[in-house]
């Protein structure tokens, strides 16, 4: 008997403790329960209610990236929004690779613990098709807080649109640009690279020279080429001007008439691959294993003459060696473009590249597309309204105008007001000349009608992060030659397309480009 008493004596305190813990824990439906360390709550609704009551009692869960970028502005501004509206925001921040899986699992299993997402608009194809995202077209159009007309056309009419409807609210403007050492180019009387041939010429000129006065030879070009990181995005930027010549709706990934991969066997892809590989000859010896953190570190410490990046370099240079020595320019283009029927390159003219500038076909690439907010279609109506209002508040010019000037947010400009109001940029530490140059390059890119939209169809991750990334890594490591790389990409992409259904994928691709047939 004493044995049972001892067991009972041991079990009872455990049960009592467990019961106490359970009562103190968040409910299972709260995503904060799964990642308490990553979750940040806005101020308590009770305290907020004294100032705003529009969303009093609403408890909104937003899933996003744990950065610390991206989550930072959401967490910082959630208490302000709570004071204004009485609502309460839980920012559930997880690793980049986890956001997609967590959001998809949550929606597909009907758990619906998240009311909104701040994620990659590339994933729209996977989320819109099964009906997981709320159509925001009318809300955005009639929302004075959002001021949709202030958002530049690419992000308003393409990036946040799927099949003619708005599903996301832009919070960030992501696309590639080339950054150069303005002090060096000015001293040598050189212009920023307009074509990729110019880029290679400039990279070669400065490679091996001491660029930052430390007595050590530096590099002509630094582009992050690590497998499993950002390498596959840069090759798209290099190839884009050869593959797309007739505007955004022309598409740079597939032929919009038959879903044939443009990244397959053709002269454009061969030239793009060769150019991409040549940039590595003017880069650091371990460039194949360098991610974007490495290339940014080298550029801001003055060790590279050229680099390609999103808009982040501009806001990262204050306080570094590269401050006031950095210029930004639209991603270089080409004077030739692919004739899709023959697979050969043809010169740019009014027919083949109608938007070319001085004979150069620029095709700035909206890689990733920029962090965007979306609303869960199955969330309770009150939470949908509150989540929308919070995301709209984040995107509103008053808030975003400050956030895009801060490197810690990871957000880049995407509104007209971000370019016209330069005061926040100066306050962030950029000089007037650097601000004008940086914003000028962004505006030139965004005004380009041949802007390239990133792939946004079902299985996008497989097309880009598996097949394209692997083939490019194999090419750079000399496991494959140009023909083998093009074949590997074409075979891989065709296999995914065939498995998913060619007609379905073609329809999704056409829809993602905003083409109405």
């Amino acid at each position: 008997m004493s044995r049972y008493r001892m067991v009972a004596a041991a079990i009872i305190p455990i049960l009592v403790l467990t019961a106490c813990n359970s009562s103190a824990s968040p409910s299972p439906s709260s995503p904060a329960a799964s990642t308490p360390a990553a979750s940040t709550s806005a101020s308590a609704p009770a305290a907020a209610a004294s100032q705003g009551t529009k969303f009093k009692g609403a408890n909104v869960n937003i899933l996003t990236f744990n950065g610390p970028q991206v989550a930072e502005p959401l967490q910082r501004r959630a208490p302000d929004w709570a004071k204004l509206t009485g609502g309460h925001v839980n920012v559930v921040a997880v690793g980049f690779q986890t956001i997609y899986d967590k959001a998809l699992l949550d929606a597909s299993t009907g758990t619906n613990s998240f009311d909104g997402y701040v994620f990659d608009p590339q994933w729209m194809g996977d989320f819109v098709t099964p009906g997981y995202l709320l159509d925001l077209t009318d809300r955005e159009k009639n929302d004075p807080q959002l001021n949709q007309q202030d958002i530049v056309p690419f992000f308003r009419d393409y990036n946040s649109v799927y099949n003619g409807k708005n599903y996301t609210i832009p919070l960030d403007g992501d696309f590639h640009m080339v950054y150069y050492r303005s002090d060096l180019l000015t001293k040598d009387g050189l212009k920023p690279p307009a074509t990729w041939d110019d880029y290679l010429t400039i990279a070669q000129k400065y490679n091996g020279k001491d660029l930052n006065g430390d007595g050590q030879p530096d590099y002509g070009s630094c582009i992050a080429k690590k497998k499993g990181a950002q390498s596959y995005w840069w090759i798209i930027s290099v190839a884009a001007g050869l593959l797309q010549g007739k505007g955004t709706s022309d598409g740079a990934f597939f032929d919009t008439s038959n879903m044939n991969p443009l990244f397959g066997k053709n002269d454009a892809m061969t030239l793009a691959l060769q150019t991409y590989a040549k940039t590595a000859t003017f880069g650091p010896p371990d460039e194949l294993n360098m991610d974007v953190g490495g290339s940014r570190g080298l550029f801001t410490t003055g060790r590279c003459a050229l680099t390609m990046d999103w808009g982040d370099i501009g806001t990262l240079t204050p306080g570094t060696y590269a401050q006031d020595k950095t210029g930004a320019t639209i991603t270089p283009g080409w004077k030739q473009v692919l004739d899709r029927a023959s697979g050969k390159l043809v010169p740019c003219d009014a027919t083949t590249c109608p938007d070319a500038v001085d004979g150069v076909n620029y095709a700035p690439f909206g890689s990733f597309g920029g962090w965007s907010g979306a609303i869960n279609a199955k969330a309770p109506k009150a939470n949908q309204d509150a989540a929308y209002d919070f995301l709209s508040y984040m995107s509103a010019p008053a808030q975003s105008g400050i956030d895009v000037t801060l490197g810690k947010t990871g957000f880049n400009p995407y509104r007209t007001s971000h370019f016209t109001n330069t005061a926040p940029w100066l306050a962030a530490g950029l000089s007037q000349a650097a601000t004008d140059n940086y914003l000028g390059a962004i505006k030139t890119s965004l005004d380009n009608k041949n802007f390239v939209l990133d792939l946004r169809i079902p299985q996008t991750k497989q097309y880009e992060q598996d097949v394209l990334d692997t083939a490019i890594a194999q090419y750079l490591a000399k496991e494959l030659d140009e023909a083998g790389t093009e074949q590997a990409i074409a075979d891989g992409w065709n296999a995914i397309t065939d498995q998913a259904g060619k007609d379905k994928q073609l329809a999704a691709y056409v829809a993602s480009l905003g083409i109405k047939k």
């Binding site: 049972y4 690590k226 497998k227």
Partner: protein, 369 residues
Amino acid sequence: MATDTLGAWRSDGAARWLFIWPAVVLILALSLFPLVASVALSVSKLVFNPGSVDLDFIGFFNYQELLFGREKSHFLGVLKSPTAIGWAILIGTIALAAIAWVRAARSGRVSPVGLALRLVGGIVLAGFVWLLVQTLASEGGRPGSLVVTLIFVFGGILLQLTLGLGLAMLAVQLVPWRRFFRILFLIPLTITPVGVGYMFLMMTDTSKGPFEPLWVALGLRNFTWVTDPWLARLAVIIGDTWQWTPFVFIVLLAALESLDQEVREAALVDGASRWQSFRHITMPALLPVTTTIVLIRIIEGFKIIDMPNILLGGGPGTATQSMTLQAYIDWNTLNLGRSAAIAYLLLILVSVVATVYVSFVRRRVTELA
């Protein structure tokens, strides 16, 4: 009556039902369900349909794709005709396997089932060697994730055993600071593999890592670990070895300390050299525990992912892409079926290697010892 009921509850039978069966059911559910679910996953594909995300049955397509189809070059590798050395290795292996089988058959001590199993084992071994020579000892061949995993496992274990034994032999001596060094040698084991990966990422970075001045001083400014496939694999093996040698060290140290010193001392008194004492007394005594260490490391080593992923992302190209990393990439890009198929092929591989090891190596070594 009430007393009888209480007695029945106190009986062993009741205790079995109350305590053992729930635990058994829970364990079965937790281990069998994922196994069955992943089999189902490996024969299906993820489909985005209007209104839902579904898993469609596609049979053995994922396995076929990995072993014979488009993914064969990534999984098995690029197979080319072996060089003369490759042929010699293959023929030598087949000859040895055949001799061993004939000897087993002639001995009369092996049952027909045992002989059949040995025959299957021999064929599997020859198949593995055929794959190895086609990818590693051929013109234009290239190893896939399966062979890369084998390189990491066996290359790593060899280094870890050698270093671990050496350190254990040192730490067992009566040297100053002995306790300090024992703790020092254990530290790598306590660090998370992801942390070790990032540490080696910094250390192998020749352009801006902490050792950059050292590389420059040595005239290795343009040297890099990460563009040559074999240097990259070596970097992974070094990192893995740094992490796991302490495990080998601590177990071997315990085994060394438990050895009867009188036998060694008697041998030395009888004129045995230190090497003879080590070769004929220490080594045989360590063999049983060594074979267990190897078995544990084989099972653990096949799952390697942190080091090649963080250090190199599986690159350059696919040079350091292990099976687990390939499965991770597939999972991450929502190719759940192929990811599950790789996981099952890994399960089969580990089971075969571990079974062969236990059946043919460990038993004999233990008997020898």
